[in-house]
């Protein structure tokens, strides 16, 4: 393998792919970056921790096509510290030579034959393909990923459910204390609903990669994984698509639609920013897993009390329809829900102090947050 390229292009590609390198790799070769130069003049840079695979490409002058696996962190550091300008890479027996300006580096490589087959090629004809705006997907991911569980004993809940149907994608996550459901429009889709569960950690990384790219994402659901093809908004020097792939979590996601209430008689509408600030302030006095209490009425009174620590109380303007009562929530979960919404005002719908409450944006229905109240003794 032998090629020349711009250091900035190489660095961009290396930093993108390096995000999939894990510190606790089970296979030694996964600590490496897989670099493949093609005769078409594109160089693919990829890494995987098996959960998450990230690959991107850059344009280069390829003198000799080939494949090499370089030690990830070291290579990343070397490229980052090179000056701008042209870099040339050439692989030899068990090593790779990096030359830039008057600098020469020779680094031992890892065994390319040991590298797992990467799931980055095109799918088979029966793969399901949908396309969407990358900013919209990033927003939707930010809304739901946080609600996934971190309890490893119920693996399906550590993931996010993807429900794909013609024209629509629904994402849902729950840790059994709250449930976040977000819907977005997509192009294409299967004849009937397809459901897969993807690990929340891989999706958090996908969300990060999508931020500010301003392009489109093509999502391909295959037999054992989902591949996201990212077209960046026509960046200079980039060799085209970046690819992110994730394995599924196997199992049955709980039927979340059954959990969503039909509608409640009591509805409180408040300013979202004020609610966030108030919950944050009053929440300081809700320690040791104690809740914040909300008295739903023409004004919203938020209060908290931790024995031996102290108490706090604040009143907010609100619009209210229904009977007045008190409902209590984990302040962090309430805050998460309100911050995932994007409207100026939010609506809290509740049945009584024990039934799960709904948090939504005012006049907006693409995101729903269901929150279990804390039972007051």
């Amino acid at each position: 393998m032998k090629f020349r390229c711009e250091r900035d292009d190489l660095l961009g590609a290396v930093q993108f792919a390096s995000r999939a390198i894990s510190n606790r790799a089970t296979l030694p070769v996964l600590s490496g970056l897989r670099i493949e130069a093609n005769e078409t003049g594109s160089v693919g840079v990829a890494a995987t921790d098996l959960e998450l695979t990230m690959q991107t490409a850059l344009q280069a002058g390829v003198d000799e096509p080939g494949l090499g696996v370089v030690p990830g962190r070291l290579f990343n550091e070397i490229v980052r510290n090179l000056g701008s300008g042209q870099v040339s890479l050439a692989s030899g027996e068990g090593e790779i030579e990096i030359a830039s300006g008057r600098g020469h580096f020779r680094v031992r490589t890892l065994m390319p034959d040991d590298y797992p087959a990467l799931p980055v090629e095109e799918g088979t004809p029966d793969s399901i393909s949908v396309e969407m705006d990358s900013g919209v997907l990033a927003g939707s991911l930010a809304q739901v990923v946080r609600s996934a569980s971190s309890d490893e004993s119920r693996q399906v809940l550590t993931g996010v459910l993807w429900e794909i149907e013609p024209g629509r994608l629904t994402l849902a996550a729950t840790d059994s204390y709250r449930l976040a459901v977000s819907e977005i429009e997509v192009e294409g889709g299967p004849g009937e609903v397809v459901k897969v569960i993807l690990p929340a950690r891989a999706l958090a990384e996908l969300g990060r990669a999508l931020q500010g790219t301003g392009g489109r994402v093509r999502t391909l659901v295959r037999e054992n994984l989902v591949t996201f093809f990212l077209t960046t908004g026509g960046q200079e020097g980039s060799g085209g698509e970046s690819v992110i792939a994730s394995r599924f979590i196997e199992g049955e996601f709980p039927n979340y639609r059954r959990l969503l209430p039909e509608g409640y008689p009591n509805a409180l509408t408040v300013d979202r920013e004020s609610l966030l600030e108030t919950v944050k302030r009053v929440g300081l006095l809700a320690q040791n897993n104690l809740p914040v209490k909300l008295r739903l009425a023409g004004e919203l009174e938020v209060s908290a009390h931790t024995p031996d620590v102290g108490e706090g109380q604040e009143v907010m303007d609100a619009e209210y329809r229904g009977e007045s009562f008190v409902i209590a929530f984990n302040p962090q979960f309430l805050h998460d829900g309100a911050s995932a919404l994007r409207t100026k005002r939010v609506v809290l719908e509740a049945g009584d102090g024990l039934k799960p409450a709904l948090l939504k944006g005012e006049d907006e229905s693409t995101f729903t947050y269901l929150l279990m109240p804390v039972r007051l003794s």
Partner: protein, 392 residues
């Protein structure tokens, strides 16, 4: 999910050939594939190789259900470097509950990375802490789609009944002498070396392989086999014991050099930044365990070899030359057999003394003291017969 596995096809070479398992009585042939297997039998009876061959059979894209043994998938499975093969082994003395919680449960819940199945091989499964075994139960009982779990185990009695009862059990026997010889010859050992290795290995293919393929192992064996002839007094016994302990230390030192390179490789691969500490700590634990095991193996090998000498003398007295293990020293064996002392009873006592010492080593006895005590006893029980005066 259910699919048959086979060890042969009409013509092609298979992974079972590559791992020298063809014709093995332990191939789980033509069985519907259950999700959980327990390969049970003595050390060196080919359980691990069989587990890997099974993993290849389950995942090989070229010869599904058999394993071609040569494709990229099979090659990486055999060398333990395939993303859909998960090898779990003790770190230190036990397989902890965390090893199962981190290494098995989330991985079993994921779809396979390359193929349609993922295989978990739990080595030395009897070393699973009871809490680890309990953590594994649910996965054993209802493995997620495409998951196969193979437990490799020397001693079933340390497995919980709830674990073993959920597995299809395959019993392994010591490998017959001729089979070992054939395997070693296939692995390019010279016939006389292979024959000798098969004789002295006592059904343990690992030991036979070490003997046939490593010159250090052969020289070590010669020095161990020479020990009975040296045990003329307690003082000589102490000398011989010191040499055996030194042999073990030398082997450990060789391995520890190789380990240093591994540590360097890991550092190069990961860097030494934040978050790499646990990878380093786990490597260090594995190394320590390897060294302790290696030391024990060499000491056990010494005891076994010395014991085999006394067994050979008994065999020669009973005119059973086929049973003689130390073919290279046959003339000396015959000379001992012809002498009146040590008599059969003392030889049996000496063999017994050799057989009980490994147990003491396993219980973490001070290794040098245990070896010294054993050899001093042997010098008392079965000193060599006096050299007969030569004719010239």
């Amino acid at each position: 999910m259910n699919q048959e596995i086979k060890s042969t096809t009409s013509s092609e070479t298979t992974v079972w050939d590559v791992l020298h398992l063809s014709g093995s009585p332990h191939i789980p042939s033509s069985l519907k594939v259950p999700h959980a297997w327990l390969l049970l039998g003595p050390t060196g009876s080919g359980k691990r190789a069989t587990a890997l061959a099974m993993a290849a059979a389950f995942t090989c894209p070229d010869l599904p259900g058999v394993g071609c043994g040569v494709c990229s998938t099979c090659t990486r499975i055999i060398s333990g470097r395939h993303p859909d093969l998960h090898l779990i082994a003790p770190e230190g003395q036990v397989i902890s509950v965390d090893a199962i919680r981190v290494g098995v449960i989330p991985e079993a819940a994921r779809s396979p990375f390359e193929g349609r199945r993922k295989v978990f091989v739990i080595e030395e499964a009897e070393r699973m802490h009871p809490s680890a075994q309990n953590a594994l139960l649910k996965t054993l009982e209802e493995p997620p789609e495409g998951t196969i779990i193979i437990l490799v185990c020397d001693r079933e009695d340390e497995l919980l009944e709830t674990v073993s009862s959920r597995c299809r059990v395959v019993h392994f026997q010591r490998v017959p002498c001729e089979a070992i010889q054939a395997i070693l010859e296939a692995e390019a050992a010279e016939t006389p070396v292979a024959r000798l290795a098969a004789r002295i290995a006592d059904g343990d293919i690992n030991r036979a392989r070490a003997f046939a393929l490593e010159p250090e192992a052969q020289s070590r064996h010669r020095s161990f086999a020479g020990v009975p002839a040296r045990l003329t007094s307690s003082l000589e016994a102490l000398d011989a014991a010191a040499e055996i302990v030194t042999e073990a230390a030398t082997a450990v030192k060789g391995r520890s050099e190789a380990q240093k390179q591994e540590v360097v490789d890991l550092a190069v691969a990961l860097g030494e930044g934040r978050g790499t500490a646990s990878a380093r700590a786990s490597l260090a634990k594995r190394h320590k365990r390897e060294l302790r095991r290696l030391e024990n193996e060499v000491l056990n090998e010494a005891l076994w070899t010395i014991g085999s000498w006394y067994r050979d003398v008994l065999a020669a007295r009973r005119s059973a030359p086929d049973a003689i293990a130390n073919l290279d020293l046959k003339a000396d064996v015959v000379r001992w057999a012809a002498a009146s002392e040590p008599d059969d009873g003392l030889l049996v006592a000496a063999i017994h003394r050799c057989a009980v010492t490994p147990g003491a080593l396993a219980r973490n006895a001070n290794p040098s003291l245990a070896i010294e005590a054993a050899l001093v006893d042997l010098a008392r029980l079965a000193p060599p017969p006096p050299e007969s005066p030569t004719m010239d």
